[in-house]
Symmetry: C2
Subunit: 155 residues, 2 copies
Amino acid sequence: MKIMVGGTFSPLHAGHKKLISRSFELAGPEGLVVVGLSSDNFAGRKSHPVMTYEARKAALERYIESLGTATTWEVEALNDRYGSALEADFDILVVSEETLPVGLEINKLRRAKGKKMVEIHQIACVLAEDGRWISSTRIIRGEIDDVGRVIRREE
Amino acid sequence: MKIMVGGTFSPLHAGHKKLISRSFELAGPEGLVVVGLSSDNFAGRKSHPVMTYEARKAALERYIESLGTATTWEVEALNDRYGSALEADFDILVVSEETLPVGLEINKLRRAKGKKMVEIHQIACVLAEDGRWISSTRIIRGEIDDVGRVIRREE
């Protein structure tokens, strides 16, 4: 199976790691995973400060290498929400609850172009210790760490 | 992996077959697939006539047997849209584009009950020869057959 998945991954937290590790499981050892990574220019539109593309890419590659997977993979820069997902020939788009709407939009745009529609796999979100989602925004605010431990409780 | 999937399957067409065969692939040979099948009472709310539960179950079982799968499976009667999916311990709910909203609702209800949220896998729809979706309604209307061949064109 050929899988596409994407994100900004700044910083790479437990929710992103699940998104990526599940993508590799779905691809299987003979499959391919293409990880789209927001370019600095595209990521610059986020409401919070973002690490450089090089730093984010290095952390992503270290994590993928730690999986010890036989699956072929590559990282591609995303200059918009879609990257090559509107044109590429692939099987499954892996999304989080946050990015499901983008996935549905990609299929709608593919259909309009006469491209094969793809399967969409939404992983379950990873909850932090406090029962709320793990998100980069919450980590940057200092509420939780990258595995979802609460750092400071609001009074 | 433990997979849940459901439908009325009246009649079982190429789109349903893809939904079911992909569920077995996602489960893997050591997994379990639970196929929810609308009861006669629940299916009776459809706008078109529905075959009996026994006839639909027999066709479904024949199809699953034709897959020659090693995966464990069972068919359970659905008396509502959720069946046991709100309570059961499982990994992935497999849905079509039509049933994605029910899948998202199941996760919301599971979360409210404190149950683990599940992954949602949406298969790509199967298009009929005329480029529109295959659906039981279109088959019953006599527009297409169960593999999506056009039977009669509107003038």
